[in-house]
Amino acid sequence: MTDSRIQRTIDAVWRMESAKIIASLTRMVRDVGLAEDLAQEALIAALERWPVSGVPDNPGAWLMTAAKNRALDLFRRNKLRDRKYEEIGRDLNTRQEEDWDAALDDNIGDDLLRLIFTTCHPVLSTEARVALTLRLLGGLTTDEIASAYLVPEPTVAQRIVRAKRTLAAARVPFELPPKDELAARLSSVLEVIYLMFNEGYSATSGGNWIRPMLCEEALRLGRILARIAPAEPEVHGLVALMEIQASRFKARVGATGEPILLMDQNRVLWDQLHIRRGLAALEQAERIGRPFGPYALQAAIAACHARARQASETDWTRIAALYDALAQVAPSPVVELNRAVALSMAFGPAVGLEIVDGLTEEPSMKNYHLLPSVRGDFLMKLGRKDEACAEFKRAASMTRNSREQELLLKRAAECAES
């Protein structure tokens, strides 16, 4: 193998194995920062050794053993200094070699779950949670995370260092959350994964190739989570939502990079494999038989669109009912606005207008151009052209996107003409 091929192979192996190695090590050394340092040292050893010796048959076990030996060295050195280290060191020493392989296989699900609950711990800021999760569970370099988030590399590096320190200072245990905290802790994990996905998804095509990678990382993490926490309907709901949204990845931007709205997308470009996997994940959420949370409800809405071969076949009545449910479990002005659109599609613009009129006083909607834009649309359909024209103009003045502005002014002109 050439050196560059070995490099790429080591890189691939690292991405495949690092989360498992760090998770297992954290359980043993009880400190996520130290575990990562040890794993990194093992990686450096691999980078030195493998170009000469070749990639070993079981590279994961090799890295694990190398990291473990470094852990043992460290504990031997620190034994006299700290009783806790002594205890852990003894624990490490008594383990048999084969335990490590077994540990990688048997406990790995639990360890990975503990790790993701740690990196998404509420004691950390949202940015820190995302960065630490990408680093420790996705195996991304700080450089890659920085380019994905369009921030300087030292910012990300700092964020990660500080996050590890915060976790240590707060003495966050490497454990699954207790029952009474599980719902809140799980929702923090799901939020981090979905933020990651949306960051990648909202990136326009071309230009930055690394941003769609965030979608892939998020999907992969979601799938892993669905495997290790299969009893949680919202986990499957999130996977379903991401799979279905990912199915439209290539259809949602035009040739010149302009966004294409869902209803105008060429559905032939939707990825049917993603859709099938999304629908299967949604069924999985259903089978658990607990009420749907916000992710499963949003996935169910996305599924209605995915099932319609043509925009005109969309089951708006069902979508309206799902938005009603979503407004109950996760009320927000944006959900309300979407609910208005769904209800107007199902039952006519007057029904939609009634909901939207209730939102005009909402402070968070004050600068949200979609509110007058949607309201203008309802008014136009109701034949109230003058009012519609004014709303479109108002919406145009509120958006900074020139393409959108153009479109809104065109609609305003159409209202004025007729």
Partner: protein, 123 residues
Amino acid sequence: MRFMLLVKARQAAGETAKPPNPDWLETMRSYNDRLEQAGVLLASGHLHPASSGIRIGCGAYGDSTDIEEGLRGKAGADVASFALVDVRSKEEAIEWAVRLPDVGRIGVGEIELRRVKEMPDIF
């Protein structure tokens, strides 16, 4: 990126001298399990013997269609199973293929990796 991992048998698929033993099936199950646990597996399956395969030959301009049952010795008859995987790089696909367990036991001859086109590469 998606890769189709095609496992080709040395002998025609499913027509090896020895029937696959339970150990082997268990090993394969745990391999698929690992793929799934890593969030990589999109679909997988084992194919029935090529002797029960059907070949449909299409003539020029679709004027003649010739259907033949049994694929022994034909091109592609050696494909025994497949897995569709979603990986980050070509190297990761290779790494997974290399880890296919104990391939000798069903007389596997080779593994072929083909990158799957995704929308809109197709157009």
